[in-house]
Symmetry: C2
Subunit: 209 residues, 2 copies
Amino acid sequence: MNQSGESLRDRKKRQTRTALERATVRLAAERGYDNVTVEEIAAEADVSVRTFFNYFASKDEALIGADPEAGPRMAERILAFPGDVTPFDAYRRSVLAEITDELNNARDLWLLRKDVVMQRPDLLVRAFANSAESEQLLASAVAARAGLPESHLYPRLLVSAGSAAFRCAVTRWAADDSLALGDVVGEALDLFGAGLAHVPPYHHEGGTS
Amino acid sequence: MNQSGESLRDRKKRQTRTALERATVRLAAERGYDNVTVEEIAAEADVSVRTFFNYFASKDEALIGADPEAGPRMAERILAFPGDVTPFDAYRRSVLAEITDELNNARDLWLLRKDVVMQRPDLLVRAFANSAESEQLLASAVAARAGLPESHLYPRLLVSAGSAAFRCAVTRWAADDSLALGDVVGEALDLFGAGLAHVPPYHHEGGTS
DNA sequence: CTGCAAACTTGCAGTGACTGCAAAAAAGTC
DNA sequence: GACTTTTTTGCAGTCACTGCAAGTTTGCAG
């Protein structure tokens, strides 16, 4: 019964996973991240506490909705671009594509996460701390594309810059409703691309930049 | 009795603080970070567990030796440079100065921390997660110097890039004994300064870069 | 549809980080 | 030496997280 690629089991697993994720985000946004216990989250999703930890290694991970496939997916994307695309561009496009997908799939969740992040900005950093494994994958992909050894600083810096861009962008996005998250991330990556030695122009009071 | 600027009390506090820090790092390097309990650390430093938590908010903080004065100190340095120094250079120099000082004061600790980080790279990221407050200070200083509003992406990105540079540099430093940490951080910051769109040259097997 | 194996869920008991509180012990002051 | 302010400590409690050993559900073959 897996011609559709997804058995009953798989479907149920996906369901509990997203139920837990949504419960976590919803409750955290509603009454503050650390006023919510895993027990409450599990109850909300109608599973046992132990099951929560079968799906997520930590409360943090559930909040951010850590997707174990995101790393491999992005790495593949990076390598799939035609040869004349620079490593930076490949990485940049890959990140933006991922964000677009994510927002299309769960924009509502990100709106709630925004509230949580506004209360506790450190959560975003902490959540990214656990993705060292994925980052390693991305760094390898970048290294391959750039013709550099894995030990080189550049690939790791580029990937770190990516998550920094994302984190800063979320903060900025949270503060200004009128912006699209993808655009802000793109802008941040551009600053990294152009070099931080170059201070970007800023027109006081003149939003046509 | 505080003409020397430091009373008995202050001296003792400093002593317990560094004793706890050293105990944490030493034990963690010796037998692995999570095979060490706070109870053991406290015992090693001859204080109670409760006292440990009077000095450090978490085990992570003790491992990294989080210095609450580092943020203000660096911010001050950034603002103190003459006016013709660019924001990037001011930040860069400030970071390198801090690292130099730190290594001069506690090089042995950093050598041990290196071992711990090699076992668990995520600890470094997590440790930096709690410094959101300091980062805000630095970002403000950079913003002031760059003539940008605090809400602008640039200052935050520069500061994030700084910690990314530091984290990547430590990793690289841990893997190659022959390098000086300060140099690697400087190199990383230079890559950020020049722009990541530019892939650095790499001479296969020719260390004259 | 039955019986078996693999995957998933659950409860339970335990560890360890971390907190608030109130009392003991120093340290500084006069 | 009494008095105030800090610092240390013990204690009780909460909560995240883990390993283990059932119990339950799903997949599959006969």
